[in-house]
Amino acid sequence: MGKVKGILGKNAVPILFAVICALGVYYSGTGIPTILADLVNRFDRNALLVLSLILPVISGMGLNFGIVLGAMSGQVGLILVSIWEIPGLAGILAAMAIAALVAALCGFLAGKMLNQTKGQEMITSMILGFFSNGVYQFIFLFVAGGVIHFTSDILLSTGIGIKNTLEMGTMQYALDNIQIGGFSTKVDMFTALVFFGALFTAYYLFRVLVKKNRERKYWIRLIVSAVLIPAGLIGGQMKALNMYKMMVRVPVSTYLLLFGACVLVQAFTKTKLGQDMRAVGHDRHVAASSGIHVDKVRIQAIIISTVMAALGQIIFYQNLGTIDTYYGHEKVGTYCVAAILIGGASVRKATIGQAILGTLLFHLLFNVSPLAAQNLFSNSMVGGYFRMTICYGVIAISLILHTWRSHVDRQKKSEEV
């Protein structure tokens, strides 16, 4: 009983939001296949962006609202590729390369700035996002075409400034829908289930057998992964689930990429640099006095985070298909932070699992809340405001709880000494 209570208490936030989501799904009146199909896409778009928040948390810099810089870098890559008219997958890859470079530079500068304002990293990274948004708008509204003259379809009719929305053209789904030998990698959900079931089974077998991670959670994960295979095989044959088979299409290639990102982040935390980040995150002063270059480690964390966010934004748009040039990046920080918090993360602790769970719950909520509100209050706008209230409310409340708790802890500690 006490154990159940402990699990509930630890996961109170995700459980609460799972309940809200379930109610939302119920009242939205939408068919589960439709919701699932949308969720598969939304996860595809956002997962890497949310994952990019993990390393700064580990390094003790809190939630990096500055991933907005990464998102902007991603858009810089896409805009340049659009100007050069590189099509399809080559365009996406070129955009990623450019974006990674720009993001690394932005991340370096942001890291420098955050080292100046230790203890206030989150507010600084937030304002930094706003500020660079201004610079970004200045560059693409006025410098592009106004100062640097060139001709391109994506310029406004006056020849100065980039259009408000850009069509991705052949770049859309370039990652999601890679063709291999004439076969699309975008498959129905049951095939994907079998594929990823097999992949996870292999991965956890590797962990259990080779890496000797024998804790219970690894065994459970192994078993769950293995069960996915027959579930997919049987589900694909069932007539009753035909709707799911038809509507829910999973872009396996992008999901493979996301899986790879998770494995990389996981592996990264086990390296020397990852260990240093953990040390810096727990106690800056002790880390410094043991010879770790604290400022450098912090900058590295921000650079990696920014680069990940840049790549994430490109994945986002290759799925969405239309670039919102001036507003697409604005709320990325807020949404991703809210998502990871809903997944159960805090300012001091964030895991890959929390990022994934949070992305799923947050975007499920985003999907169903307008319709649910429409049905409940006959007004869809209320749903929009409701989800924004949740989004900001979650951030505000979890920050309050975290700050308050650490005050109480500090008090307790000073009493003990």
Partner: protein
């Protein structure tokens, strides 16, 4: 032959900070396996000596040191802590250098993690080599076994009792290969008695392994128990080096605090003191929970019109007394001020009872750095006694003219060096900041003035002005003063009676002309 070569030998070490000589001609020799105690009061020069030995950058930045350092007979000039470690010198600092969320093993191996190649390092290069957690476990287990401590290398450090954290620190130094000299800075200061016993046991064990231990401590009992040799520093000078077998705890204490007796102007007055004087403050069974300066139940009477000195070694609780009376730290017990019971734990009520406080923690509690000198002086009087206001129509406004005049008066009287009463206190020197703090307290027109460590960190000129001022205020206005200081000389110079605090209790109340030995004994905790 090797037995006769000292591990560490420091010869005629001297060091000055901007003309101020803090170390002069200090020499010491430490043999392999020897337990060498170094003691002295705050500011005696211990930490500077250790900084020199450890090659801390602050030394080179302030002009280096004079004298020579020999390691195992070879002259060495240590330029960085890294070098010191390479030479086999380890140090356990007073504050724990532990990462709270890490395991015991990870802490022992902090920033010295054994690494191995992994997938990432093969692609991205050396800096992404994997940490070898298995080896961390094995190595730290070994180090802990050497200490003879039962401790799981995978336990989270945060969950350990304080004493065990100390063991982890020592294990980390042991794990560094080829350690020859281990410096322990106040290793038992924050430990319970039973834990301290274990630490002392470990120290003996280390010495049996042939590792020399340099023990910095205030606790004379510990020195007597484990050390082979003791050196006493005072005012940057090596007062005496003795074999423990040839000395007593009383002698060590006396040497630590002993000063030339200053001709005390108050001595004749103190002879007039009678028993039937009025009691200003009466303290019964006061306990104060001040970190590092805990008070464990004190009974003390302060007589009206006297200057009562409170002395004792650092960490023994002398600072807790004034802080307790003023309600700054959590306090229990009974305090009456001129017969009226005082409400505890409320600075506002303490001030209302006509007490005023000049805190030892000047930076944190003494003043508001961005406010002007004049505001700093008058804010407490404004907030508590509604002074320095004038009526303008229906509004009560700050009387700027009066504030400025008052500030100017005190600036003149205390010789505060500043550009005027509007200057920010932040930009003043330490001594002048202290004078602002004293003016602030006096402006509360207290019946009892509590002054703690007013001369800490200020230059000699300002020191004598501060002391003279305290003495003069007492003489001229008859205000009762509780004067806390770690410098016995100061206490003897201006106090009528001196209470010596040890272990959070009053060890003895002495006349200022009592002998050095009496003071030494009281500070050592014996009566």
């Amino acid at each position: 032959m090797a037995e006769n070569t000292p591990v560490l030998s420091m010869k005629n070490i001297g060091k000055a900070f901007s003309g101020n000589q803090v170390l002069q001609d200090v020499s010491l020799d430490i043999m392999p396996g020897e337990i060498y105690a170094l003691c002295g009061e705050n500011g005696a020069g211990k930490s500077t000596l250790m900084n020199i030995l450890f090659g801390m950058p602050v030394i080179a930045a302030t002009g280096g040191y004079t004298g020579k350092i020999y390691l195992e007979g070879e002259e060495t000039h240590i330029k960085s802590p890294q070098e010191a470690i390479e030479h086999g010198i380890g140090m356990v600092h007073q504050e724990f250098m532990l990462i709270p969320g890490f395991s015991v093993g990870e802490n022992i191996k902090l920033n010295r993690e054994p690494l191995k190649n992994g997938a990432l390092s093969r692609v991205f290069g050396k800096s992404l080599r994997n940490v070898d957690f298995d080896k961390i476990r094995e190595d730290s287990k070994q180090a802990l076994d050497k200490l003879g401590v039962e401790l799981d290398p995978e336990a989270d450090v945060q969950t350990l009792p304080v004493g065990y954290m100390q063991f982890v620190e020592i294990a980390r130094e042991l794990d560094k290969s080829s350690i020859k000299l281990l410096i322990l800075d106040e290793p038992t200061a924050v430990l319970a008695e039973s834990e301290a016993e274990i630490v002392l046991g470990i120290i003996k064990r280390l010495s049996q392994m042939g590792i020399a231990v340099l023990l910095i401590t205030h606790r004379i009992g510990e020195i007597m128990e484990v050390a082979d040799t003791v050196t006493i520093l005072r005012d940057g000078v090596n007062v005496k080096t003795m074999k423990i077998a040839d000395t007593t705890s009383g002698e060590i204490a006396e040497l630590m605090v002993g000063r030339e007796l200053v001709a005390s102007e108050n001595r004749e007055r103190s002879e007039h003191e009678d028993e039937n004087k009025e009691v200003a403050i009466s303290i019964r069974n006061m306990k104060v929970d001040m970190p590092g300066e805990r008070v464990n139940g004190i009974d003390l009477d302060v007589y009206k019109g006297e200057i009562l000195g409170i002395g004792g070694l650092a960490g023994q609780g002398k600072l807790g007394i004034a802080n307790g009376i003023m309600g700054v730290y959590p306090t229990t017990g009974e305090i009456t001020v001129f017969g009226q019971p005082l409400k505890l734990n409320s600075p506002k009520d303490s001030i209302a009872a006509k007490l005023a406080f000049v805190s030892e923690d000047r930076k944190r509690q003494g003043f508001a750095p961005d406010l002007s000198i004049e505001l700093n002086m008058v804010v407490p009087a404004m907030a508590n006694h509604d002074e320095f206001f004038k009526k303008i129509g229906p509004f009560r406004q700050v009387d700027r003219k009066k504030v400025q005049e008052t500030a100017e008066k005190y600036i003149q009287e205390f010789q505060i060096r500043c550009t005027g009463p509007k200057q920010e206190v932040r930009s003043l020197s330490g001594g002048n900041q202290q004078k602002v703090c004293i003016a602030k307290a006096i402006l509360l027109k207290p019946d009892v003035l509590l002054v703690s460590e007013p001369t800490r960190g200020i230059d000699i000129g300002a020191k004598s002005i501060v002391l003279e001022t305290i003495s003069r205020i007492n003489r001229e206005t008859g205000v009762t003063i509780i004067f806390t200081s770690s410098e016995l000389g100061e206490l003897r110079q201006i106090c009528h009676r001196i209470a010596i605090v040890s272990g959070g209790r009053v060890a003895d109340v002495l006349k200022p002309d009592a002998s050095n030995e009496e003071f030494g004994l009281a500070m050592g905790g014996g009566k």
